[in-house]
């Protein structure tokens, strides 16, 4: 044996020894988890006695495969909802040890992410009626960092409407789907650098002074409590500084500082002013307030009775619907109101019902749920025969969504099946009548857009009309999923995206789950243009090992082959004509490009594996697909689960079953009112109550 090979063996033994030790350690830890379940859960959740239809005796400790059940167990144990009070309780040490193991193991899978919300089985949330008196454990106290849009709204508050020059410091989740989840939001170092600069810029604006004719004067939109100090020749008094601190707290955090906070800020001022730069010291002190953790994060700690404090409730309701503070509800909190659910409900109804109050997060939900706005980010070559303007397509879909929400009747069904559409529309105010009028938004330039169909032709309009929304021709497009914006958003650079469209349907409407692409699998659809995309996808995904996951997606995405990847309605499919292409050469034999031939269009698909017999079955075309989904109770409830996630910033848990069922009932009782749904959710225990964290 050579020296090198000997070293190799030694190294291998060392590695093996290490991995065996690690494996042994992991096994011991898994045993802890399984033993806990055996002792405290299996008696009621075993093979025969399956309380709530949950079986736990067959858990192996593989949290990747068994994630949904483990997360339910962990959550119940953490919240002390299980074992039931009349059963033998684990010791605090056992409970803690189990929670720690579960957290570390479950952290391996992204269950806190928005797209993994479906891990809690639908039937456990909606399958059995929840006792109205069931006192489910309130969700844990939490912090929720401002979203990117909420930060800009906050800047407008503190900078008095002028946010120019301020840079967005926060990052939205790069994943598709709902972006703003409380568990995901962090503030790291690069972000803090930007926050520091922004705070500096805001304070400069708040304290701007200019010299005119030798006299110091304040600029517009400055804060008097601050500039009074700067304009005076004498050093500020303690009272002046306190007043400035109070003012900045009021502007930035909408509350008054306590004594300790004032003292610490005054100490900061003194430290900075020691060099003699009082102006700089004041600005530093004011900037510190803008950087406080309770300015950048929403604290939901709850009060002694378990409800959010009045200020927390005001912030929660306000932030749920808009990016700036809703003045009236904050005033109510200041007056000591908002201590009861009825108090809060009154304000929720007022805000939801008042059309004059801008509520950008209403549209925001539909954008993140359907994600049609991503259309502008899908890189495509501009075709010769179409003026491809995804930005306008997104604006038109926005308008359609807002129209359906304003009508507020049978909203879910309308979103999926309406024949109405807006096409190439913008609004402008008529200077004479001062009325808002619809206008054609994009008007083709005869030179630049020569030979290109204008955007309205996508919707079947031969000529643009101001009678909008208009009804699209029968058997063409229904609802949001057939809007050009959605079709482009869920397409690739050169093709439709059958797989991801199917995944959308599976996860966001059927409430199913699809594992992420396994590591090491290169997902490639063959580029054989002589076959239809349907055939090419099938050839790539029908192998047994692929089909295990793709069976949940592909058949649901196939009906949308009724459209091309620019969102144009197709009557027939086309494939490369190899023979004609070979013959398509000039006199010198130089190829003159691909030649395509028509083939029959196949728009069929299949809904399967939903567990709902009314849903499952073959699909004729995309219109058949959306109509069947729109008629499904389960799909409506899955949609409501997503509404919950968006407004609550977290995934639903078993403890939210009552909230979700109440919301569904409120929606049905109101003939499908989105407003009623919102009021129900935003006045629920899940929204308004908090329990202490572990």
């Amino acid at each position: 044996m050579t020296k090198h090979s000997l070293l190799g063996v030694v190294a291998a033994i060392g590695l093996n020894a290490m991995s065996i030790a690690q494996a042994a350690d992991a096994k011991t830890k898994i045993a802890v988890g399984i033993e806990f379940v055996r002792q405290h859960c299996v008696a009621c959740h075993g093979e025969k006695k399956r309380e709530a239809d949950i079986r736990l005796d067959d858990l192996t400790g593989d949290v990747v495969l068994e994630g949904s059940r483990w997360s339910i167990v962990l959550q119940q144990v953490r919240d002390k909802a299980m074992p039931p009070e009349d059963s033998k309780q684990p010791t605090e040490a056992e409970r803690k040890s189990f929670i720690e193991w579960g957290r570390s193991e479950l952290a391996r899978r992204p269950q806190s992410k928005p797209n993994s919300g479906n891990l809690v089985p639908h039937d456990l949330l909606f399958g059995t009626a929840v006792d109205a008196n069931d006192n489910a454990k309130a969700p844990a106290a939490r912090l929720w960092r401002l979203s990117p849009d909420a930060y800009l709204g906050w800047v407008e508050e503190v900078a008095r409407g002028k946010a120019e020059g301020i840079v967005q410091p926060f990052t939205a989740s790069p994943d598709r789907g709902i972006k703003d989840f409380a568990a995901l939001a962090r503030v790291d170092e690069p972000t803090t650098e930007i926050l520091l600069r922004n705070a500096d810029a805001i304070v400069q604006r708040q304290t701007a002074i200019e010299v005119i004719d030798g006299k110091k004067k304040t600029k517009n939109d400055t804060v008097r409590e601050f500039t009074d100090i700067l304009l005076a020749d004498d050093p500020p008094t303690r009272a002046q500084l306190e007043k400035a601190i109070q003012k900045q707290f009021s502007i930035a955090i909408a509350r008054q500082p306590d004594e300790g906070e004032v003292e610490r800020l005054l100490a900061l001022y003194e430290r900075c002013a020691a060099d003699g730069d009082r102006t700089g010291a004041l600005k530093t002190m004011l900037g510190a307030v803008l950087l406080r953790s309770d300015a950048m994060f929403r604290f939901e700690m709850g009060s002694e009775n378990g409800m959010l404090t009045p200020r927390e409730a005001a912030a929660a309701v306000s932030s749920a619907l808009m990016y700036r503070r809703e003045r009236v509800i904050f005033e109510a909190a200041e007056k000591g109101q908002l201590k009861t659910r009825d108090d809060i409900a009154q304000h929720v109804r007022r805000i939801v019902d008042d059309p004059k109050i801008q509520k950008p997060r209403v549209l925001g939900f539909f954008r993140e749920y359907f994600e049609y706005q991503i259309a502008t980010e899908v890189f495509k070559d501009s075709p010769k025969d179409l003026w491809h303007r995804p930005d306008q397509a997104v604006r038109d879909t926005d308008r359609l969504v807002l129209h359906i929400v304003a009508e507020d009747k049978d909203v879910f069904r309308q979103l999926l099946t309406t024949r109405l559409a807006f096409a190439n529309v913008k609004t402008s105010t008529n200077k004479q009548t001062r009325q808002e009028e619809l206008q054609r938004s994009l008007v083709p330039n005869p030179h630049n857009e020569k030979g290109k169909a204008p955007p309205e032709e996508l919707y079947g309009l031969a000529e643009w009309t101001d009678k909008q929304p208009f009804e699209q021709p029968e058997n063409t497009r229904l609802g949001i999923l057939m809007q050009p914006s959605w079709l482009v958003a869920w397409s690739e650079n050169f093709n439709n995206d059958i797989v991801r469209r199917g995944r959308f349907i599976r996860e966001r409407l059927l409430g199913g789950t699809v594992p992420d692409l396994p590591i090491g699998v290169a997902a490639m659809i063959p580029d054989d243009k002589h076959r239809t995309l349907r055939d090419r996808v099938a050839s790539a995904t029908h192998a047994e090992k692929c089909w295990r996951c793709h069976q949940h997606m592909d058949d649901l995405g196939l009906p949308f082959e009724n459209f091309d990847h620019y969102g144009r309605l197709l009557k027939e499919d086309s494939v490369l004509d190899r023979e004609a292409t070979e013959k398509n050469v000039d006199k010198k034999g130089k190829p003159q490009g691909d030649v395509f031939r028509s083939v029959p269009l196949d728009t069929t698909g299949l809904i399967a594996g939903t567990g709902d017999a009314k849903l499952d079955g073959p699909i004729r075309d995309p219109r058949d697909l959306v109509q069947r989904i729109a008629n499904s109770d389960r799909c409506r409830q899955v949609w409501i689960r997503h509404v919950f996630r968006y407004y609550f910033g977290r995934n639903e848990t078993l403890a939210d079953a009552q909230t979700l069922q109440n919301a569904d009932r409120a929606y049905l009782d109101s003939n499908g009112s989105y407003k009623a749904l919102l009021v129900s959710l935003l006045t629920s225990d899940s929204f308004l109550k908090r329990s202490a964290t572990q």
Binding site: V167, C272, S293, Q694
Partner: protein, 462 residues
């Protein structure tokens, strides 16, 4: 700056003493460099000089090398053209680089279609993606800064079209939706990096920032202690950020003697309303930052990004805004091309001055310049209204012999031809020599999937 001072003599004057632990890797690296003991891992420094409003490929094409052009102007070579620059004449716009001709490589024929083009590709120019919807990912300067970190992993300096801009976010990014700053006021940039050794207002501002960081760390810690579990952890990231920034501030204090000796000399140009002066001052700060070991990556962005590009170069006798020049407008009998040449030459002069400063500092058996590479390009690729078919650029320096960039003219095969390369391939080459190789950078151009241009550009690697 006193060029008689060498890094060796500077380091001899420093004592690591009690603060040695805190001084960390930077001083250790400086010390090693000063002693010439870093031969195995010679320092690596990267400078990006990026200018707005496009760079016409002909403005860097040697007058003695004909360029095969496509009817629409883009590179039309079917194969790689690889020539020595020796004996060739540089065009007027980059003629000031003549003293550096043996360290210079002119690169033509790279594309960056994925960026989308227009007046500026903004972050996409250094990130290889379309930035039309915002910052989509990390840019190359930040990526390199992470590979060769200093106290600051990267320092962004530049000018915008308006003197009142203090900081803009236009060129560099740490990741998706995480733009990195371009400091646009030389006086404020000086305060940030050298304020600790300054006098008067700059010193006070520097100290106030230190006080604020300490206060915030204390304040966030106080709140954090009232929380438990995951929520405490969440706030922990914010706390860490302030502690880390505060520590960095302390490290600047610790190398104050270095900063004092090698910091830029503050003059009127630091507060000038003239763009040429401000950019000159920024080059001073960039050079000093490299020499003091504050960073190994400097990005100098001159009027980059939309809407910051329409600079008026009054100090160069070009009071017409660059946007108008880009649209072909001339001034005082001078054509747009001549005006652009005047502005470009000024950038070349600043690059030459930067190289002279680096050359004046001995390092190992050579100078700092030997271990530095400067890349010059435009964020708008090949024209004022770019399509990114071509992305002409200059490479100055060979990074301690790691790059084959000594006096070359390299024209890659045309777009979509076999062997064609993109900006992503060029940046992958830089990552490769930085010791942080990657398989991909930015977003691949889907229209090039047939030729699949992956990996670094082999012709550039030594």
């Amino acid at each position: 700056m006193n060029s008689n001072l060498t890094r060796r003599s500077l380091m001899k004057g420093l004592t690591l003493g009690a603060s040695g632990t805190l001084l960390g890797p930077v001083l250790a690296q400086l010390s090693a460099q000063a002693e010439g003991t870093v031969a195995a891992g010679k320092p690596k420094r990267f400078v990006f000089v990026i200018e707005g409003n496009g760079l016409n490929p002909m403005q860097i094409q040697p007058t003695t090398i004909p360029r095969a052009k496509h009817p629409y102007g883009q590179t039309n070579n079917e194969t790689l053209e690889d020539l020595s620059l020796t004996g060739h004449e540089l065009p007027e716009a980059i003629a000031p680089l003549k003293p550096l001709q043996d360290r210079l490589t002119i690169v033509q024929g790279l594309s960056g279609r994925i960026c989308g083009g227009g007046h500026s590709n903004n972050f996409g120019a250094l990130g290889c993606y379309s930035a039309k919807a915002g910052v989509a990912g990390e840019t190359i300067d930040i990526a390199l800064g992470r590979a060769v970190p200093g106290i600051f992993s990267q320092i962004g300096l530049g000018i915008s079209d308006r003197p009142e801009h203090t900081v803009i976010y236009n060129t560099s990014a740490c990741g998706p939706d995480q733009p990195a700053p371009t400091r646009c006021r030389p006086d404020l940039a000086y305060e940030e990096f050298f304020g600790g050794v300054a006098e008067g207002a700059a010193k006070e501002k520097f100290n106030q920032r230190g006080n604020l960081l300490d206060f915030m760390a204390d304040d966030v810690r106080r709140v954090s202690q009232q929380l438990a579990g995951e929520e405490r952890e969440k706030l922990g990231h914010y706390l860490n950020a302030f502690e880390s920034l505060s520590q960095r501030q302390s490290r600047l204090n610790e190398i104050s003697s270095t900063l004092r000796k090698h910091g830029p000399v503050v003059s009127d140009k630091f507060k000038s309303t003239d763009e040429a002066d401000r950019l000159d001052a920024m080059f001073d700060i960039g050079a000093a930052a490299l020499i003091c070991g504050l960073t190994n990556v400097v990005t100098l962005a001159s009027g980059c990004g939309d809407p910051y590009f329409s600079v008026r170069w009054k100090g160069l006798g070009v009071p017409l805004d660059k946007h108008s020049i880009g649209h072909g407008k001339g001034l005082d009998m001078r054509t747009a091309e001549q005006l652009t040449t005047t502005i470009r030459r000024y950038h070349m002069e600043l690059i030459v001055r930067l190289t002279e400063k680096l050359k004046a500092v001995p390092e190992g058996d050579g100078t700092m310049l030997d271990n530095t590479v400067i890349v010059y390009l435009s964020d708008a690729a090949e024209s004022h209204h770019s399509h990114c078919w071509d992305w002409p650029l200059l490479v100055i320096g060979d990074l301690g012999g790691r790059l084959k960039t000594r006096g070359r003219y390299l024209c890659l095969p045309r777009y979509a031809a076999k062997g064609h390369k993109t900006m992503s391939n060029f940046f992958l080459s830089l990552l490769d020599v930085a010791g942080a190789p990657r398989k991909s950078f930015g977003i691949a151009d889907p229209a090039l999937k047939d030729i699949n241009p992956t990996g670094p550009i082999a012709e550039l690697l030594a």
